[in-house]
């Protein structure tokens, strides 16, 4: 494996291996940007990995009043799951518990797609018979009476099966605090790319996993090859000076959006990283046999 060195950062000759996923998008609005963000943040909470959280969720971007159906400030959120069927209970529970309940909120489709799924299928029945629908143009909106007025929720939302989950960048550094700052800068750059989310806390995951475990019942366990504290006792991927490894996981509505995110993330790391103790950038894969999408770092270099 030959690596490239740019600006003092070693870029491994490897690739990120990502999987085909299903995804949907929602537009959440509220009276103020603050409350749109509160609603979207809670609604996408505990949405880090499909393995344990059921869906991978995050905020794509904030929307100006001009961009929303009701002319109020909004946020676009994306939800990723194994299949449209797997997204059904996630959508129902998250919208029912986190959007319906949030003061002043309204919830609309945020993804144009020929394939749709019921968005108001569950939440509208909260109206106990007083819910009514209003169809305007081609869009049907449900109005559910609630204590602060009406909760408006669109009847259906678009769903795509062309989404990609698991684009990633692994960052190795010799300064744990500095590496986190470099990773934060990369996440901020990726946030500017449309149609993608970084579902882990703050966009960053520190507990990369490998498939399987010595313990029965655990389907994944710590990625010991990237654990700096084990580098002398296991077959390690860490460099001798590695103190910390962080990963950014990227889910996107399209493969192109994931590739673009990795490109801008990589660019930022190369620019910002050296002063923060970043020594190497790698990517996670399973040998290329499991995921349909391969993103080679050498193809994404600035």
């Amino acid at each position: 494996m030959s690596a490239t060195t740019i600006n003092g950062v070693v870029i491994d000759d490897t690739f990120a291996e990502a999987f085909g996923m299903s995804a949907l998008g929602l537009v959440i609005t509220a009276d103020t940007p603050k409350w749109a963000n509160i609603c979207a943040t809670v609604m996408t909470g505990f949405g880090t990995s499909v393995i344990g959280a059921g869906a991978e969720c995050g905020i794509d971007r904030e929307l100006s009043p001009d961009e929303t159906p009701d002319g109020r400030p909004g946020v676009r959120v994306l939800m990723f799951g194994f299949s449209p069927d797997a997204l059904v209970p996630q959508l129902r529970n998250r919208v029912g518990q986190c959007v319906l309940t949030s003061p002043g909120s309204a919830c609309y489709n945020g993804l144009d797609s020929a394939t749709t799924m019921g968005l108001a299928a569950g939440p509208r029945f909260f109206g106990d018979g007083w819910q009514t629908a209003k169809k305007i143009g081609n869009r049907r909106f449900w109005r559910v009476p609630v204590m602060d007025g009406e909760f408006v929720i669109e009847d259906k939302c678009g769903v795509t099966t062309d989404a990609v989950g698991g684009g990633n960048l692994l960052m190795l550094g010799r300064d744990r605090a500095g590496l986190l700052e470099a990773a934060e800068a990369a996440v901020a750059a990726i946030a500017k790319v449309d149609d993608v989310i970084t579902p882990f806390p703050g966009g960053i995951v520190r507990s990369g996993s490998k498939v399987g475990s010595k313990y029965k019942g655990a389907i994944a366990s710590t990625n010991d090859a990237f654990c700096p504290t084990l580098k002398g006792v296991v077959t390690t991927e860490c460099s001798p000076d590695t103190i910390s490894v962080l990963e950014i996981v990227i889910d996107g509505l399209t493969s192109k959006a994931v590739a673009e995110s990795m490109r801008v993330g990589l660019k930022t790391l190369i620019e910002v990283g050296p002063s923060k103790g970043l020594t190497r950038v790698s990517a996670g894969n399973y040998g290329g046999k499991l995921g349909q999408h391969h993103y080679h770092l050498k193809d994404l270099l600035p």
């Binding site: 009514t132 629908a133 305007i136 869009r139 009406e150």
Partner: protein, 269 residues
């Protein structure tokens, strides 16, 4: 873009059914074929050539020059393209219309847009009774689309209407929204007496009501988000013709409690 035009030779003396004069039904026909189309069937039938001078080539636009209360079913079944009329028309204009645009420079008679499912109708004059309504045999009245009337609207607009939006710059006559099942009636001038008899669902929006039915309950001031959605959606559909955006707060009269009572009259003033 060229237009196929129909110019009235003389004022008709009997009701004519103009439902065949829409782009999809005229496509591929020669001028001779078009002139032989029947506007009144039977032994005393009337053909297009008997009453109209036909000129131009067919694209997706039909223009009717002339004005008469006997021009019935103008733009009925329109499913794309446009039909324009330079003067007044008779009954059933835009009936069963699915898409496209119907522009009427004068008044429209009764049953404008009855059972229409889509498209845009703009009447520069006033419209008659049962706008978007049902005639015997119809299960529902208007089922979709957008109607804009610059003048006033007759009685019982939106009778058994289910979806779609009717906007009047003038006033609606008595009993607007009678037996309405859904959809929106929106006036910038106000409703006549007793709107919404047996209103099940659906929304009547206007600055005033001449006389409120006793079976409507005052729900007070409300500020529903749906008003913003309606304003923006209609602005998108009608462009510069769209009415002024709705105010954020309205007074709601809920009813008709003589039936399921899920309808609403929203007072904007």
């Amino acid at each position: 873009m060229s237009t196929l035009s129909f110019t009235l030779r003389a004022a008709p003396t009997q009701a004519l059914n103009l439902s065949s004069l829409i782009p999809s039904k005229l496509a591929g026909l020669s001028t001779g074929d078009i002139e032989r189309l029947e506007l009144v069937e039977g032994p005393h039938g009337v053909r297009v050539g008997d009453v109209f001078a036909v000129a131009g080539t067919m694209t997706d636009r039909v223009a009717i020059s002339g004005a008469s209360q006997f021009l019935d079913y103008v733009g009925a079944g329109l499913d794309g393209g446009s039909v324009t009329v330079e003067g007044r028309v008779g009954n059933y204009a835009g009936r069963g219309m699915k898409a496209g645009r119907l522009d009427i420079a004068g008044d429209a008679g009764a049953y404008l847009a009855s059972t229409a499912k889509g498209g845009i109708i703009h009447v520069k004059g006033s419209a008659g009774d049962f706008l978007g309504g049902t005639r015997p045999g119809d299960k529902f009245g208007m089922l979709g689309g957008t109607v804009l009337v610059d003048g006033n609207v007759g009685e019982r607009a939106g009778e058994r209407m289910r979806r779609g939006t009717v906007i009047a710059r003038g006033k609606f006559g008595a009993a607007a929204g009678s037996r309405m099942v859904g959809g929106t009636l929106w006036t910038e001038a106000g409703f006549g007496p007793r709107p919404g008899p047996l209103l099940r669902r659906g929304t009547l929006i206007g600055p005033s009501v001449d006389e409120v039915l006793p079976t409507f309950g005052d729900c007070g001031r409300i500020d529903p988000v749906i008003l913003r959605i309606i304003s923006r959606a209609i602005a998108e559909i009608l462009g510069p013709l769209a009415p002024k955006a709705l105010p954020p707060t309205v007074r709601k009269l809920g009813g008709d409690m003589a039936t399921i009572g899920k309808g609403e009259i929203l007072l904007t003033a």
